[in-house]
Amino acid sequence: MSLLSVKNLRVSFDTEAGLVEAVRGVSFDLGRERLGIVGESGSGKTMTGRAVLRLIRPPGRIEADSLLFDGQDLMTASEREMRALRGPRIAMVMQDPKYSLNPVMKVGAQLVEGLRQRDRMSKMDAHDKAIAALEAVQIRDPERVMEAYPHELSGGMGQRVMIAMMLIPNPDLLIADEPTSALDVTVQAEVLAILDNLVKTRGMGLIFISHDLRLVARFCDRVLVMYKGRVVEELAAKDLMQAKHPYTQGLLNCLPRIGGPRQPLPGLDRSADWAV
C-alpha cells in the first residue's frame, strides 16, 4: 500500500478579487521513494506540499476526493490528530533557513525543544540526540553549532540544521520545499547527498519540491510537472529528456547549457491549448 495517496486535491483562496484556485485537481501516489514536484513560481507546488500537512490558513480551503496517509484520512482528522502527525510522521523542510529558524533562540535550544516537550526527554538525553542529529547531516563541530544563533550560521549550515531538526523524530515522509535553492551549487550537492543517504538508510518517502527541473531529474525517482495548479505531466526521472508535454520540453529548452549554441534561448509558448 502506498504511503501517501492524494486524489483530486484542490486548494482555493477566497480573495477580494474573486476565487483563486492555487491547486486544481492534483492526484498522485507516493511509496517509499523520492518524488519530485517541479514548476515555476505560482504553479501550486508549494501549496500542494503544505496541503498534505493541512498547513493552509483560512481563507484558504483544502478539498480532495481523498487524502490518505498510511491509511489515515487527513481530510477528516481532527486538529489534535494532525498535530500528532506533523513532525513525528510527516516533516517539512522549508525553503529559507533565515526565516524558518527562530532568530532569538540558540540552535541547540530549538533542536531540543521538541524532544523535551513532546518526548519528555531529560536534558542530557535530548542534548545527545540533538548532537547526533547534527552529526547525521555532517556538521563537523556540532557543539559549537548548538551554541550559535541562526544568524551566525551560513546558509548551508542553516539548511542542514533545519534538516536535522526535521529528522530527529524519524518521520516516514519528508516534504522538502526548495531545500537547496538558497544554497551555492557546491553546497547544494552536499545537502542533496545527505538527503539521499537519509532516504536510503531510513526508508523514508520524500517529496522534493523545486523549480529546477534538471536538479529534480538527477535526484528523484519520479517527477510531477505542475503548471497553473495542474499536473501536466508525470514521468520517471530518467525519461525526462524524452518528455512529451510541450511545457516540460519548453522548461528544459529554455535553460542555457555549457558549450551550447549562442543563439537566443527558446522562450516558452504560453498561448497553446494546454496553457489555458
Binding site: E40, V185, H211, R214, M241, C254, P264, G267
Partner: protein, 252 residues
Amino acid sequence: MALIEIDNLSVTFLSKGHRVNAVKDVSLSVAAQESFGLVGESGSGKSTILRAICGLAPISGGAIRIGGQVLDRKAGKAFAVRVQMVFQDPYASLHPRHIIDRTLSEPLAIHGIGDTDARVMRALDDVGLPRNFRFRFPHQLSGGQRQRVAIARALMLEPEILLLDEPTSALDASVQAETLNLLNRLRAERGLTFLMVSHDLAVIDHMCDRVLVMQHGAAVEELTRDQLAGAQMKTDYARSLFAASADRMLAG
C-alpha cells in the same frame, strides 16, 4: 587598450573590530564590447568587485581604470553616463512608491537631458514592455517585468558599460531565458560592454566570452568560453564548480 582595467584590487571591510578581506589582489581587464563573467560561491567577492567599481564598496588597495582613467569618486555624473548597474533583486532595486515613469525619467532630470517623454517611451519599447506600463507601480509588475524596468533604467543615460549583478537569479527559468535574450540583443544593438556576475556557470557560458572563477575573495582561474566548454580547467576548484553545475547533472 582595455575599457575596464582592474589591477590588484583589494577590498577590506572593518566589521566589529576585525578586518574582512572581501576581495584580495584581483586583476582583470575587459575590452570594449566584450562580455566578461565573474563566477563563484556566495562570499567569493564577485559582487563586491562590481560594487567597488560603482563606489559602493571601499577600495583599500589596487586601482580600477575605466577607459584608461583612474576612477575619480568626485566624477559622479560623468561616471554615471559611462557605467550603470543592474542589481540582483528586482523586488528591492526599484522604488516601491515611484511609478515606472518617475524611475525612468529621474536620471534624465539629474543630467538635464530633455525630451523625457519620448525617451521613456523608447526605453520601454527597447526592453519589450507595453507603453502603458509607464504609470504602474513596481508591485503591479511581475519579477521579470521589474527586471526589464531595471535594465531600461540602467540604459536611460546610454552608458557604454553595464555591470550585471546576478540579473536573473531571482527569476523563473523561462523568464530568465527572455531576460538573457534581451540583454544579448541590447548588447549587439548598442555595442555595450558587460561585466556580469553569476553563480550559474551555464548562464555565464551563454552570455560571456571570458570568465574569472573566484573563491574566498581571490581569483582562482580565468577561462575562455572554449576552455569552459571543453572542461579544460587547471584548478580543482574550477573543476568542482563545473562538475556541480546543474547543467552537468543531466549529462552525468
